[in-house]
Subunit: 588 residues, 2 copies
Amino acid sequence: MTASHLADLRAELARRGLAGFLVPRADEHLGEYVPPAAERLAWLTGFTGSAGLAVVLPEQAALFVDGRYVLQAAAQTDAALWQRRHITQEPPQDWLAATAPAGARIGYDPWLIAAESLQRFRDAGLDMVATEPNPIDAVWRDRPGPPLHPAEPHPLAFAGKPGAEKRAEIAAALRGAKEDAAVLTDPASIAWLLNIRGSDVPFTPFALGFAVICADGAVTLFMDPHKLPAPTRAWLGNNVTLADRAALPAAVDGLAGKRVRVDPAHAPVWFAERLRAAAATVSPGMDPCLLPKACKNPVEQEGARAAHRRDAVALCRYLHWFASAPGHATEMSAAARLLEFRNEAADFRGESFPAISAAGEHGAIMHYRVDEATDRPIRADELYLIDSGAQFPDGTTDVTRTLWTGEDPPPAELRDRYTRVLKGHIAIATLVFPQGVAGPHIDAFARHALWQAGLDFDHGTGHGVGSYLSVHEGPASLSRLAKPVPLAPGMILSDEPGYYAPGRYGIRLENLVMVQPANRPEAARPFLCFETLTLAPFDRALIELALLSLDEIAWLDAYHARVVAEIGPFLAPEPRTWLDRACARLSG
Amino acid sequence: MTASHLADLRAELARRGLAGFLVPRADEHLGEYVPPAAERLAWLTGFTGSAGLAVVLPEQAALFVDGRYVLQAAAQTDAALWQRRHITQEPPQDWLAATAPAGARIGYDPWLIAAESLQRFRDAGLDMVATEPNPIDAVWRDRPGPPLHPAEPHPLAFAGKPGAEKRAEIAAALRGAKEDAAVLTDPASIAWLLNIRGSDVPFTPFALGFAVICADGAVTLFMDPHKLPAPTRAWLGNNVTLADRAALPAAVDGLAGKRVRVDPAHAPVWFAERLRAAAATVSPGMDPCLLPKACKNPVEQEGARAAHRRDAVALCRYLHWFASAPGHATEMSAAARLLEFRNEAADFRGESFPAISAAGEHGAIMHYRVDEATDRPIRADELYLIDSGAQFPDGTTDVTRTLWTGEDPPPAELRDRYTRVLKGHIAIATLVFPQGVAGPHIDAFARHALWQAGLDFDHGTGHGVGSYLSVHEGPASLSRLAKPVPLAPGMILSDEPGYYAPGRYGIRLENLVMVQPANRPEAARPFLCFETLTLAPFDRALIELALLSLDEIAWLDAYHARVVAEIGPFLAPEPRTWLDRACARLSG
């Protein structure tokens, strides 16, 4: 099947005079979840992971994936057709530079790659050729159409600030940067700016589209008119002009002579190339919505607290169910049970990502997704890791707990590892830091207790989280690989250190935290701290008290007391009794 | 005086059709210490600080300096001629974009600015024009000539690795990157690569020059022949071709068709511009010598330990003298006394930077340099900060201690602040971390104890240090503003947190530390740690024991015991007795 797809693509490339072609797992918004029409990588290779890149040459082809997808890529693709490579250890541009003949013309779809990513190929000395329309689309005969779900108003009771006010602020920022306009290619930015939500892709409630905002605050929204029912049009107001997606190229050409901001990391390079061809000046800069969207306003902050309380009730009911019914559940049935509890929460709109329900050795697979083939019973005397999240109109949640399934105390190694991960979690949760500090500067606090023992974990400590938007939201994160964006009040981030023993078990402990001003009145500059949003007990059976400092124990006791006070009243007697026991003081 | 210089420059700019001109404090190697011929900024403005940038327009002129030089710039320059601005808070490119008329042609000397710095002006929409020769040189009538001090061999007993071997390694790296050559513009890189040293600028023992290394290991050294006596020529060998500095442009033109590495952050943009004009391909990349130079080889590591022991003997003699003779010294006389002790150390070759000898309120000026005008007695009951370093052929040192000059115990505030700084110092000194971690990721450990109290300090935690080379050496550092270069075995860095109360006092505690493999045999990846090189007691009068953990006290006791064991035997009875007392156990 994929053999014929690869042959068809090669024939098409030959017709177009190309020696090679890049096939990233991306749509034209460069987003995490893509519609079926953008699943070109899966169509070509069979690989269905959420990140990867294929490079096709006349005689060779390679699929590049990151560490979490090495096994999946091997299982899903044909070794006779595809070399499988590690995308960070053997970067595709290096492979291409070593493999393709000198001067070979390598095609790329300018809608599916950002300027910064493309530059890496050019820096490797490759002759990269923009190729439109995508050659795959010429040979993918049953390619699905784009999603056409309606966009809906996101009411002020949740958004907290009128779209007109947001547009005025972005416009002022553009004028401050001496820019005439900015192109918005991230549907989450558009959803935030215009206070609309949608359902074009799973898990993230936005509508796919593009927009241009001018320095006077006027916005043109490029979106299929079928996705904009009359109430949504009325909600958008007169200062938002609607245009069909097909009108975008001409509109970009109309920016000739203007200075236009384009995000070199997140916008398809098509925009910069088209603007330059139209004699506009490209001003490389961050999507102007990213930072204000990340800093939740007071209404969004209050919404996040409320959404987290409702989610915590569902989660605590689940944890009680899990503690009370061991031996009956499989990974899939447990995840389904959690979804049922969430379905009973007010205003639950769906999961914010596919839940990771992982027993024993599956816990060590960081992005494990259970299916019929991998499902297995959750057994006694092992670790069970449950990482899940929910979308509510007032907020997005993401929480991980790791549980011991046995009656007897867990082995010392597990208690040691769990407690070191917990120490890392607490180190972030209790940190006080001055304005200006960014995630890469503090990620290591989550690792210190592990490092002392020669241990570590292979992912960032945390990511930004949207407000009824993407559970993975920029520009800030707690990862040392990320750009250092200073943390600012209102940002919501995950605090999720872990430890993974491949083939044996995985531990991850995740709460969402929100940046807040710290009360340091005597300080010479503003200091910040984290407010913990997530409310659910940590498994006391796995805590090795001797490894905790008195301050850490005090934090845990206060946190558990808060869980009881805020969630207990919403639980039935049985789970309530369970919660009281789970949250009992650890200190004597 | 400077008024006529400014008028002369403006007339010259008008003759060349330029609306403005940049005057950075830089020589054509973009180094920290520059020869008198490169002091154009001082000639033009009167400002003699080590960093700054002037921008000259027909009607306005501004001098941009960083926080440490705000006061000095105001004192040294004429407010009627110069607007004084903060270089990070009001970046010069923003000022220019707001002040210069649209389309104004702004000149820059391509020898005095790196590509990355220039790009910031272009990104601000400015029309930047390369201007050669420098317009100042046309009107600076008594401009000094270049320094012509001889370059000398740096023997293998100190260098540890033959130049031919280093050249072969760099050549292999160029071939691996598919590059034909690299230009070397940093005299420290050339000194390391060719195992030579010199004395063209103060404090850093290198000879100014340029070099090109080809992918076959052949090097052309562009240096005035007067600086290369016969023994040095013989030492360099046949595979190093000597050429006059004037031959450089033609040699660069001769790289037509080649792929040539140029460091966009550290090389004058002249090289990239000239190479492109010559139809060579510019490959932007880090100076290939930076990383291997930073990772000291075993001979250099042993040299560093030996140099630090000799330096510690001088420093401990000084600390004893200081403790025994209070009330007699001024800042200048104390610094002079320290230099005398160092002069008695074997193979002392000079200071590695101008010593900072700062009493009381002067300690809060991070780069205070005492002179006749600012000198004052060191009084009882205040803090005295001494930050100094030495050049030895086997190693470069840099050490800071902060001392209490009183007989009675210091106030609680000083003990609190000193101890929090000390906790930060120890946190870095004791850190264990996996390979891949870089300075920006761990700098915050040095601040944690301060942050908890709403305190901080306004400089990086530490910088790289050379081996009988610059006391400020890249590419690694312990600063969150720096590029994240992974720490690697053999790197020497300073660990120097501080705390500054403007107008009152300053505290800084600095040892040099060397990255070493950590003994974590069970770890899944290599872990690293720091070996402390500097040996001198911390002032126990300023330590608040109640703020220290048991682990921190144990580290201090072990460190002080090591100081006694390694330095005590080299001291006369009186300082020896003093050292024993200064290093007595803090734990009960």
